[in-house]
């Protein structure tokens, strides 16, 4: 384990905007975003986004999405705190893949059950989710009631030694390498097509999670992006969406993460209005070390144009042939 890893500096920022279609229809934003710790700067850093279905039968999906990001972040934080054998990455990987999906789905269900107990569904709402049949068992009725809270969940957790990605349902997780190359850490789920998505409210939802565990190498990603599907669906093609990763990394390097954060809301708003019309959420986890490394490289290695200009300036100096004096 290198010293560099222990001093690694990361920062998370993010925004969520109500979709243009939802604004026109007077519907609230069904997406949610949450990160731990609140400062967004100390490792381990956990970022979660969720997209509540917003369908007629998922009429509490705004709450479902909020509960999803909060419970998922807590479960993963507790999981990371509980890892005593931090050197044994393969054991952590196995535990993350096998245990976390079950734990995230179960904790969300508990939170939904508590919410239902505090805010029972009305007779009309029970009818809407098909939980009103007199012969329905308590378990079936409970299962149907969860549909009201239906949501996706996407999480990235950055630790000193590894990065963890979990996803259930639609949306995108992208990673951007130091050189600007954009890739997706998770395989595509072919079922996520034509507005259909896997969901936390489904029976055995844990089976539908996609999980990726990456040990932190010498060059971890410069940037990690988590977005709900309203954002990628706003671009004409996939390459246009992948370009977001490259562009934002360049912008952070040129103008700083604060400037990017200041503009996120307006970018996302423009995207939903000129694109999908859906709610749009984007969370970014940025490696501040990567930004600093690049800045150092630029100082040390002037661009060809800068070198040419420096050369031209030198050639124009009248004292260019004078001996150079050094302070000793």
């Amino acid at each position: 384990m290198s010293k560099d890893k222990h001093t690694a500096r990361w920062r998370v920022v993010g925004q969520s905007v109500r979709g243009a279609t939802h604004e026109r229809a007077g519907v609230t934003n069904q997406d949610a975003i949450h990160w731990l710790p609140e400062s967004g700067t100390e490792l381990p850093l956990i970022l979660a986004v969720a997209d509540g279905h917003g369908s007629r039968r998922s009429f509490r999906s705004e709450t479902g999405a909020r509960l999803a990001v909060e419970t998922a972040a807590q479960v993963i934080r507790d999981f990371l705190r509980g890892q005593v054998e931090i050197e044994n990455l393969s054991a952590i990987k196995r535990a993350a893949e096998e245990w976390l999906p079950v734990a995230v789905a179960r904790r969300w269900l508990e939170a939904v059950t508590n919410h239902l107990a505090a805010h029972p569904l009305s007779a009309d709402e029970l009818k809407l989710v098909g939980a009103d049949q007199p012969e329905a068992s308590v378990q079936a009725s409970q299962s149907n009631s969860q549909l009201a809270y239906g949501t996706t969940i996407l999480v990235a957790a950055v630790t000193v030694d590894f990065i963890l990605y979990l996803q259930l349902g639609d949306g995108e997780i992208l990673i951007v390498a130091d050189d600007g190359e954009v890739s997706s850490p998770l395989p595509k789920d072919q079922r996520l097509f034509a507005n259909e998505t896997t969901s936390l409210c489904s029976e055995d939802a844990w089976r539908d999670f996609r999980v990726c565990f990456q040990a932190v190498s010498n060059t971890p990603p410069a940037l990690i992006l988590l977005s709900t599907d309203g954002y990628p669906n706003s671009f004409r093609d996939e390459s246009g969406f992948f370009k977001v990763g490259t562009d934002i990394l360049e912008m952070i390097r040129a103008e700083g993460l604060d400037m990017v954060n200041d503009h996120l809301e307006s970018w996302l708003r423009e995207s939903t209005y000129a694109g999908s019309g859906d709610d749009v959420t984007l969370g970014l986890i940025c490696s501040l070390d990567s930004i600093a490394r690049q800045a150092m490289r630029e100082i040390r290695t002037p661009t060809l144009q800068q070198a040419a200009e420096q050369g031209r300036e030198f050639n124009q100096r009248e004292d260019r042939d004078a001996p150079v004096e050094y302070d000793v």
């Binding site: 243009a20 279609t21 026109r24 229809a25 997209d51 279905h53 917003g54 369908s55 007629r56 039968r57 998922s58 549909l147 239906g150 996706t152 349902g169 639609d170 079922r191 996520l192 097509f193 034509a194 507005n195 259909e196 998505t197 896997t198 969901s199 409210c201 489904s202 029976e203 599907d229 990628p232 669906n233 706003s234 671009f235 004409r236 093609d237 390459s239 246009g240 969406f241 370009k243 977001v244 562009d247 934002i248 912008m251 103008e255 400037m259 990017v260 503009h263 970018w267 423009e270 995207s271 939903t272 209005y273 000129a274 694109g275 999908s276 019309g277 859906d278």
Partner: protein, 233 residues
């Protein structure tokens, strides 16, 4: 910082395809003329629905089938530019050919994965005369064929509602039975307004709860009314 990250933004395409039976029997009792009138009258309604949701790019096409099948409007046409040329009726009912031609157009590409579920409206007054099952299989073999909103309108009592039901693929949704011009106008208006509106801004559905062809919520059906003396077909 004025630049926005990412490539070109675009609204999501929604393909709407009329599939019209133009067999000789459609010439009897003014059925084809009623269909022409009903679709012409529906166009302003479609345009109004499209205007209400600028995030869906409604693109309309039409295919006709009789002895063989042919695109009546072959290019996906912005609904604001869509015009209806009257159909004429003659020949047999090669519905299978039309289904397979639509299937070709629902492949990815030319379709994109980010499109909204297409709307297919099949209108027929008779029995298919070709191998409709092969055409239907070709359509259902395409992901967008399976996920399309499939609506069927039966014109008159001789329409093969069993075949139309197979096209719909969901027992909860029946073919709409139009036995007179007023009913046909009502159903055409329903698909071009209520169904189009629902398809243009669909919410996510859990993949295990959406019935076949129901990944877009189907609005309440218009009342067809009781059988009456007005029934001419």
């Amino acid at each position: 910082m004025n630049m926005r990250p990412g490539g070109e933004l675009a609204t999501r395409p929604l393909h709407f395809i009329w599939m019209a039976d133009c067999s000789g029997s459609m010439d009897v009792d003014g059925k084809i003329q009623s269909l022409n009138t009903a679709i012409k009258e529906a166009i302003p309604n479609m345009q109004a629905v499209a205007d209400e949701n600028p995030n869906a790019q409604v693109l309309v096409r039409a295919i006709k089938f009789s002895s063989g099948a042919q695109w009546h409007v072959s290019q996906p046409t912005e609904v604001s530019d869509f015009r209806w040329e009257d159909l004429t009726a003659e020949g047999v009912t090669d519905m299978g050919k039309a289904l397979s031609m639509v299937a070709d157009q629902l492949k990815i590409p030319p379709m994109t994965e980010r499109a909204l579920p297409p709307v297919l409206v099949l209108i027929s007054d008779g029995q298919p005369t070709d191998d409709y099952a092969s055409g239907l299989k070709a359509l259902m073999d395409q992901p967008w064929g399976r996920k399309a909103v499939r609506i069927a309108i039966a014109i008159g009592e001789d329409a093969d509602t069993e075949v139309l039901q197979k096209f719909i693929g969901n027992p909860e949704l029946k073919p709409l039975q139009a036995n007179n011009p007023e009913a046909l106008v009502k159903y055409i208006k329903w698909v071009s307004t209520a169904v189009l509106k629902s398809a243009s801004a669909p919410a996510s559905q859990t993949s295990d709860s959406a019935a076949p062809g129901m990944n877009v919520p189907i609005p309440v059906l218009p009342d067809s009314g009781p059988t009456s003396a007005d029934d001419v077909w």
